[in-house]
C-alpha cells in the first residue's frame, strides 16, 4: 500500500471538482481557534484523499454545538492552541469539555464518525480524555516536555502497529513510514498500570523506530523520549486517533526532503487520510 506509484495523483492538478462527486464526499470538520496553524495542510490532505473539509471556528460551534453532528470526521489540527499556555492543548481541551461534552459523546458514539488529532490536536484529545479511553473529562495519559527540552523539527521513522485495528490504519499494519515531527511536548507518559492497559488493549498505533527499523528509545530517532516509543494511540474502537507526527505534511511526494531519491514511492501520509475517507463513506 505504501509503495504506491502515485495511484492518486493530485486530483486538484487535474481540475477535478465535478458536482456529482462533491455530493458523495464525506464532510470533515477542521476546528479552528486561536493559534491553530496546521489547518491548511490538513484540509489539503483530506481533500486530496477525496473528502470535503470545512473550517469551523470554535466560537461558531459554541453558538450551536449540534453543528458537529453534521460532520463525519472531526479533525483537530496542529499548532499552538491559545499559545499552549499552561500546557499544550490545555485551554482548548478545557473549552471543549466545558461546552461540548454531550455533543462530543453523541458524535463519537456514532459508528460512522472518526476523530483525528495531530500534534496539538493529539495533545487536546489526551487532555479532554477522549484518548486513550474515550472518557471525556478524565486524563489518563499525558504528552510531556520533550527530553531535549525544546521543539524538535525533524523527519523520523515510525512503524505502524499490526495489532491495532483502527480504520485509519487498515492495510498499513507493519509498514514503516517517514513522517515529520515538529513539537516540544510530545513525550508520551503515564503510570505503569495505564501503560499496561494501553498496551494490552492494543491501543498503540505507531512507534518510533531507528534507522534499522527497530523500536527505539534513543534520541533523536525517538525525538521526545516517549514511553515504549509511543508516537500515536487510538481509543478502544479505533475511531479516535491521535499522533504526534504529521502525516498531513507528506501527502505529496515533493514534501519529503529526499523526494529526489524516492523512486516511485508514494507519499507516506496520504493512506491515513484515504483510509479515513473510505471508512466513513462505507460506514
Amino acid at each position: 500500500m505504501l509503495v504506491l506509484h502515485e495511484p492518486h495523483p493530485n486530483p486538484l492538478l487535474k481540475g477535478e471538482g465535478n458536482r456529482h462527486i462533491m455530493k458523495s464526499k464525506p464532510k470533515i470538520l477542521i476546528l479552528k481557534t486561536d493559534g491553530i496553524n496546521c489547518d491548511e495542510e490538513l484540509s489539503f490532505a483530506f481533500s486530496l484523499a477525496g473528502g470535503q473539509p470545512e473550517y469551523l471556528h470554535i466560537n461558531e460551534l459554541r453558538k450551536k454545538p449540534s453543528r458537529l453532528l453534521d460532520y463525519q470526521i472531526l479533525a483537530l489540527a496542529g499548532g499552538f492552541s491559545y499559545g499552549d499556555d499552561i500546557a499544550s492543548g490545555k485551554i482548548l481541551a478545557a473549552e471543549m469539555t466545558s461546552f461540548f461534552s454531550d455533543t462530543i459523546q453523541k458524535f463519537i458514539q456514532r459508528k460512522d464518525t472518526l476523530t483525528i488529532g495531530i500534534c496539538n490536536g493529539f495533545q487536546v484529545l489526551v487532555r479532554t480524555g477522549l484518548l486513550p479511553f474515550a472518557k471525556v473529562g478524565s486524563m489518563d495519559v499525558t504528552l510531556a516536555n520533550n527530553n531535549s527540552g525544546h521543539l524538535e523539527c525533524r523527519w523520523i521513522k515510525l512503524e505502524i502497529e499490526t495489532n491495532n485495528t483502527s480504520p485509519f490504519l487498515s492495510n498499513l499494519g507493519g509498514k514503516q513510514v517517514s513522517y515529520q515531527v515538529a513539537h516540544g511536548e510530545g513525550r508520551f507518559f503515564t503510570d505503569e498500570k495505564t501503560l499496561k492497559k494501553v498496551e494490552d488493549e492494543n491501543l498503540v498505533s505507531l512507534r518510533y523506530v531507528d534507522d534499522k527499523g527497530k523500536v527505539t528509545q534513543s534520541y533523536p530517532a525517538n525525538p521526545n523520549g516517549s514511553l515504549n516509543s509511543i508516537a500515536g494511540i487510538t481509543d478502544p474502537t479505533g475511531r479516535i486517533f491521535g499522533l504526534m507526527p504529521h502525516p498531513e505534511r507528506f501527502v505529496l511526494k515533493e514534501q519529503h526532503p529526499n523526494w529526489r531519491r524516492l523512486n516511485g514511492e508514494g507519499p507516506h501520509g496520504l493512506p491515513i487520510f484515504q483510509n479515513a475517507v473510505k471508512y466513513v463513506k462505507q460506514a
Partner: protein
C-alpha cells in the same frame, strides 16, 4: 486578595528547567535545582482557586500543586516574574480558560520560582540567577515581596505644552537628546513652524514629528543630496529606484508598500520584505527577536489589501561566543546569551504563528560585540488584483485591530535611529517588549478572511511609530481625525502621546467603508480579535488627534510629511585606508583567552602552523587536516542544524527543499524552495547573501560579493535569475563622512548588479545606527553589512536539485572563475593568520552566462547535485556535498596555483556540480569556465591530489564532527 498556586513536576528527573540550570552551574556548592511554576490569581476564593489548580493549572499524572504555600521544602528560593506593566502573554489565556470553566478572575500572573539546594546562601543565589541570565532586568525582576495586587493603578495621563518657541539652540538639543533624536536643523524647522502657528506644540505633536522624521521612518540619509569626494551625486534611494524600474517585467509593486511584490502565476503574486531588529535585540534579545519576526510578518499582511505570510528567513551576526568578558563593552550583553535568546525568540514566535523559517544564516565577528545584527525576512502570497497599495479615501473609518496598546515599545522608531551606548539599556528599556504570537495569528486569520470578503479598503501595520505612523501615512493626502480615548489599553494611565506613538505589537490599522463596518467587526469578533473605531479620514488635510474632547495634536499633513528638509551630506574616502585595515585586523583576531568552554572556535593555530599556513607550504597531511578542521568548525562555516531543528521549517506543508537534506538529512542546502499553492506545481525560491567582514576591506567588492552569493544560492537549487527580485538591507554605522562613503560604494555595487543581471531591487531597508559610543567616548563601528535577499518564481518545483552527491563514480566539476589570489576576509585567512587585503572579484557579464548555464542544466535534469562556493571555499563545498550524500570524493587539481588558495578561496558565483560522466560534463559546460576535479567515491573519504601528487586524505566523518561540534555544544543536540 491573591491566591497563589504553585505547581511542580513530581519526578525531579523530569524537571528539565531545573536540570538545565544545574548543568550550567560551575559551582559545586549547588547539588540540585528545582523549578516551580507560580500562578497568582486575583479576585477568587481559595475554594475556586483550588478548583482551577486541579482542573487547569496542574495535571495529576506528573505534577503536584500547593495552594498558598510552598510546594517543595527547603532550598534557597528565587522568584522571577515579568515586571508590572510588561505584558505577560500567558495571562489572557489563563483568564479565558478560567472563564470557560465558569470562574471569573480580576487579574492573574504566572512566574517561575527556582529552588537551589546545597551549601548556598540567599545572596549567592541572587547573584547566581543574574550570572546565569535567568532574568533579563529590562523586562523581568526578582520578586522579593509577594505582590498585594496585580492590578495596575490608573493615573490619568495628560498632555503637556512644550515651550519650544523661546528655546535656545542648546535647549533645543537638550530636548532632542535621548528622546526625539532630531538634529539642530530639524529642531529649528519645527520651532519655526510653531512660531508661525503662534503657539507652542504639545508633547504629542513633537513626538509625532520626531517619529515621522526619524531616520528609521524617513530614511533621511538615503534621500539626502550627496557630495562624494567633492562631487555631487544623486541620492542613494533615487539611484536604486531608477535602475530598478528599468527591469520591471515582473514587478507588481516596488518601493511603495510594506513589501515588494512580484507577479507569480495564475493571478497570484508573491511578496517579500526584510527588516533589521538590531537595537531591541541588543538589549532584550528574546523580546527583540520576537517583535522583529512579528513586525516583518505584519509587513506582508500590510501589503496591498493584505498578503498572506508563508515563509520567513533569519540572518544573524554576533561576536564569537567565547568573547572574553573583559572585551565586552559596558552596557552590552554577552554574545552567547544573545545568540541563544535570539534563537529562542525566533523559534517561539515563528513556530506559534505557523510560519516556516525556511532559510537563514549565522555569522560571527568580534566587532559585533557592541551590537548584534539581527535580520528577519518574510515572504507571502497575495492575489495580484489586491496587491496594489491603496490610500484611504474620505469618509472611510479608521479601525484599530489586534492587541491592546501599552507603554511598551515607546520610542522604538527614534531609538532604532540612535547610536547604541553604555546608557542604552537603562534609558531605552521601554523600547522593548515581549511579543504575543497568538494575538498576531488570530488577527492574521481574521484579516485574510476579511480581505477575501472585500471588507478592507486600506491596511497598514503598526510598526515603528505605532498609530502615529500607520494612521499618519494612510491619511497623508486627505487628513484624518482620531480619538485616542477609544483605543483599547493594556492598563490605564497612559498619556495621549504615549498611546499615539506606542509600538505595542500585534496591531494593524484598517480603513473600512462605512457600509461594511458592521460586517468587519462581527468577523473580527468571531476570531477573538478586538476592534476599535478610532475615527475617520475626513478630507481636512490635517492630522487631528483628540483625547476625548481635548485636541492633543493638530498638524498640517503637508508639513508633517513634506516639511522635513532634505539633507545634504558629504562623503569622503577614508584617508588612511591602511589604518582602517590595521584596526580591523587587530579586532578580528580570535580572542586569545582559554575559555571555559573549549568547544568554540577551533583549537588555536599553533605559531608554527600559522607561519606555514597561508604560504602554501603546509607540509604534512596532519597539518592539512588540522587547518581544515579549523575552517569547518569556524562559526561562519559550521553546521547550524541544531538551530534549524528548533524552528518548524515545514509547517503549512509548502517546503519542498528544507535547510538540510540528503541521505543523512544533514547536508546543508543553498536556498529554500517552497510551493506556495499546494495544489499547483509552481515554486518560489528564497535565498540570501551576506558577508560580515568584506565591506571593511572594500565596500564595493564586499557588496558585490553579497549580491552574487545571494544569486548563486538562488541559481544553485534551480532558480532562473532572470525571474528574480532583490531585497537589499544596509546595516551600516552612523553615517559620518567615511561611513557614508562606504555606504555610497555599496549602493553603487547594488546598482551594478541590477544592471548586469537586468533584475530589480524591489524592496529594502537601511539601518544606520551600527555605532557604539562608550562611557569614555570610545567608538566601535560595527562592521557594515549588506544583506542581499533574492526571491522569485519557477514553473515547476520538480525542476530543482539538492547539494548532496547522489552516487559514486560521478564526475565532479568546478564551474566558474575563481579569483584565486584574493583571500581577504576568508575564513582561512582568519584561522591561518594570513594577511591579505584583496577581496575576490567577479566578472558580472561572465556570471550571467554561468548562471544561465546552471539553470538550464538543472531544468533539463542534467545535473545530479549542485552547491555553490562561499565561506570555507571549494573544499568546504565538496565536504558538505559528501555529508549529504554519505559519499566521498577524490580530487586532482591540475593547476599551478597555490593549493591552499585554490581550496579555501571564497570567490562567489562558483559552483561544484555532480554529473554522470566526464564526457557529459565537457559537453554541458563547454561555453563556460569549468574545471574537472575528479570523481565521487563509495567510501566516505576526501582525498586531494595536485597534479597527480597525493597531498592529503581525510575522513568525512572526522570533519563532520568538527563541523557539527560548535552548535551542538551550544544547543545540546543535532
Amino acid at each position: 486578595m491573591i491566591q497563589t498556586v504553585r505547581v511542580i513536576n513530581k519526578n525531579e528527573n523530569e524537571d528539565l528547567r531545573g536540570k538545565g540550570i544545574l548543568s550550567e552551574l560551575a559551582s559545586t556548592k549547588v547539588s540540585n535545582v528545582r523549578s516551580v511554576r507560580v500562578y497568582r490569581l486575583e479576585g477568587v476564593s481559595p475554594t475556586l482557586a483550588d478548583k482551577l489548580a486541579q482542573k487547569l493549572l496542574s495535571e495529576d499524572i506528573n505534577q503536584a500543586y500547593a495552594l498558598n504555600k510552598p510546594v517543595i521544602n527547603g532550598g534557597q528560593k528565587v522568584e522571577i516574574a515579568y515586571k508590572p506593566g510588561v505584558m505577560n502573554p500567558e495571562v489572557a489565556s489563563i483568564i479565558k480558560a478560567a472563564r470557560d470553566l465558569g470562574i471569573k478572575l480580576m487579574a492573574a500572573d504566572a512566574s517561575w520560582e527556582y529552588y537551589f539546594y546545597g551549601k548556598t546562601k540567599k545572596e549567592e543565589i541572587v547573584s547566581l540567577a543574574q550570572q546565569l541570565n535567568l532574568l533579563n532586568q529590562t523586562v523581568e525582576y526578582i520578586v522579593d515581596d509577594e505582590p498585594k495586587t496585580l492590578l495596575i493603578k490608573p493615573s490619568k495621563g495628560h498632555t503637556a505644552i512644550i515651550p519650544l518657541r523661546k528655546m535656545s539652540e542648546e535647549e533645543l538639543m537638550t530636548l532632542s537628546k535621548d528622546k526625539l533624536f532630531l538634529n539642530l536643523e530639524e529642531m529649528k524647522v519645527v520651532q519655526n513652524y510653531f512660531q508661525k502657528m503662534r503657539r507652542d506644540p504639545t508633547d504629542c505633536e513633537l513626538e509625532t514629528l520626531a517619529q515621522t522624521w526619524s531616520e528609521h521612518c524617513a530614511h533621511k540619509t538615503f534621500k539626502a543630496e550627496l557630495i562624494v569626494d567633492g562631487k555631487k551625486k544623486e541620492p542613494l534611494i533615487k539611484r536604486l529606484q531608477k535602475e530598478a524600474l528599468k527591469h520591471d517585467k515582473n514587478i507588481v509593486s516596488a518601493f511603495v508598500d510594506n513589501s515588494g511584490v512580484l507577479e507569480f502565476y495564475d493571478g497570484m503574486s508573491i511578496c517579500g520584505k526584510v527588516e533589521t531588529h538590531n537595537s531591541p535585540s541588543a538589549i532584550e534579545p528574546y523580546g527583540g527577536a520576537m517583535t522583529g519576526s512579528g513586525g516583518v510578518f505584519r509587513d506582508i499582511l500590510g501589503t496591498g489589501l493584505g498578503g498572506k505570510t508563508i515563509a520567513s528567513t533569519d540572518m544573524f551576526c554576533f561576536a564569537p561566543v567565547d568573547l572574553k568578558p573583559d572585551n565586552l563593552p559596558p552596557g552590552c550583553l554577552p554574545p552567547e546569551y544573545l545568540l541563544k535568546r535570539v534563537v529562542t525568540g525566533v523559534r517561539d514566535y515563528g513556530n506559534r504563528m505557523g510560519i516556516p523559517t525556511n532559510n537563514g544564516s549565522v555569522h560571527f565577528h568580534p566587532d559585533f560585540r557592541a551590537k548584534p545584527t539581527i535580520i528577519v525576512g518574510a515572504y507571502g502570497t497575495i492575489p495580484t488584483r489586491k496587491a496594489k497599495k491603496r490610500k484611504a479615501k474620505v469618509g472611510e473609518i479608521v479601525v484599530a485591530i489586534g492587541g491592546k496598546t501599552g507603554r511598551d515599545g515607546i520610542h522604538g522608531a527614534t531609538f532604532s535611529s540612535g547610536e547604541m551606548s553604555h546608557r542604552t539599556i537603562s534609558v531605552n528599556s521601554s523600547a522593548v517588549q515581549i511579543g504575543n504570537a497568538i494575538e498576531e495569528k488570530r488577527m492574521f486569520d481574521a484579516l485574510i478572511e476579511a480581505r477575501d470578503l472585500d471588507l478592507i479598503a486600506s491596511i497598514q501595520d503598526c510598526g515603528a511609530g505605532g498609530f502615529s505612523s500607520a494612521i499618519g501615512e494612510m491619511g497623508e493626502t486627505i487628513g484624518v481625525k482620531v480619538d485616542l480615548a477609544k483605543a483599547p489599553l493594556k492598563y490605564q494611565g497612559l498619556s495621549p502621546w504615549e498611546i499615539w506613538i506606542s509600538e505595542s505589537q500585534e496591531r494593524m490599522v484598517v480603513a473600512v467603508d462605512k457600509t461594511k463596518l458592521k460586517k468587519f467587526i462581527v468577523l473580527c469578533d468571531k476570531y477573538n480579535v478586538e476592534t476599535a473605531v478610532l475615527g475617520k479620514f475626513d478630507g481636512s488635510k490635517k492630522l487631528r488627534v483628540y483625547y476625548g474632547k481635548e485636541l492633543v495634536c493638530n498638524l498640517d499633513m503637508k508639513f508633517l510629511h513634506h516639511g522635513l528638509p532634505q539633507r545634504t551630506m558629504t562623503a569622503r574616502r577614508p584617508e588612511n585606508k591602511t589604518l582602517e585595515l590595521i584596526n580591523q585586523s587587530s579586532l578580528s583576531l580570535p580572542p586569545k583567552q582559554e575559555s571555559r568552554k573549549k568547544y568554540w572556535i577551533h583549537d588555536q593555530v599553533g605559531d608554527e602552523n600559522k607561519t606555514r599556513a597561508g604560504t602554501g607550504n603546509l607540509l604534512s597531511e596532519q597539518e592539512w587536516v588540522k587547518i581544515l578542521q579549523q575552517v569547518v568548525s569556524h562559526g561562519n562555516v559550521c553546521s547550524k542544524e541544531p538551530i534549524i531543528r528548533q524552528y518548524d521549517h515545514t509547517v503549512q506543508g509548502t517546503n519542498v527543499m528544507p535547510p538540510f537534506a540528503g541521505l543523512s538529512l544533514q547536508g546543508p542546502m543553498d536556498a529554500a524552495v517552497v510551493r506556495p499553492l499546494l495544489n499547483k506545481p509552481y515554486g518560489m525560491i528564497i535565498s540570501h547573501g551576506l558577508n560580515p567582514v568584506l565591506n571593511n576591506f572594500d565596500a564595493y567588492l564586499g557588496s558585490l560579493w553579497a549580491g552574487v552569493e545571494a544569486l548563486a544560492n538562488y541559481v544553485s537549487v534551480g532558480g532562473d535569475y532572470k525571474q528574480a527580485g532583490l531585497i537589499n538591507n544596509y546595516i551600516w554605522p552612523f553615517p559620518d563622512e567615511e561611513s557614508l562613503w562606504t555606504l555610497d560604494r555599496s549602493v553603487d555595487a547594488v546598482v551594478d548588479i541590477m544592471k548586469a543581471f537586468k533584475i530589480p531591487v524591489i524592496s529594502g531597508k537601511d539601518s544606520l545606527s551600527s555605532t557604539y559610543r562608550g562611557p569614555e567616548g570610545e567608538v566601535i563601528k560595527i562592521p557594515p553589512v549588506l544583506c542581499m535577499s533574492v526571491f522569485g518564481k519557477i514553473p515547476d518545483v520538480s525542476r530543482t536539485i539538492t547539494t548532496d552527491f547522489k552516487q559514486s563514480g560521478s564526475a565532479v566539476y568546478l564551474i566558474g572563475q575563481q579569483d584565486v589570489k584574493a583571500m581577504a576576509g576568508s575564513v582561512y585567512a582568519e584561522v591561518s593568520g594570513l594577511n591579505d587585503s584583496h577581496v575576490p572579484t567577479n566578472d558580472l557579464q561572465l556570471l550571467t552566462k554561468v548562471f544561465a548555464n546552471i539553470h538550464h542544466n538543472i531544468k533539463t535534469g542534467s545535473l545530479l547535485a549542485c552547491h555553490d562556493i562561499s565561506e570555507g571555499g571549494l573544499i568546504t563545498t565538496l565536504f558538505e556535498m559528501c555529508v549529504g550524500g554519505e559519499l566521498g570524493v577524490a580530487i586532482d587539481l591540475s593547476n599551478k596555483e597555490q593549493l591552499d588558495y585554490s581550496l579555501f578561496n571564497e570567490t562567489v558565483g562558483c559552483f561544484v556540480v555532480e554529473v554522470e560522466s566526464k564526457a557529459k560534463g565537457e559537453k554541458l559546460f563547454k561555453n563556460i569556465p569549468h574545471t574537472f576535479l575528479g570523481n565521487t567515491t563509495m567510501g566516505q573519504l576526501i582525498s586531494i591530489k595536485q597534479n597527480k601528487k597525493s597531498v592529503f586524505h581525510v575522513e568525512v566523518e572526522k570533519l563532520k564532527k568538527s563541523w557539527q561540534k560548535p552548535m551542538v555544544s551550544l544547543f545540546g543536540t543535532v
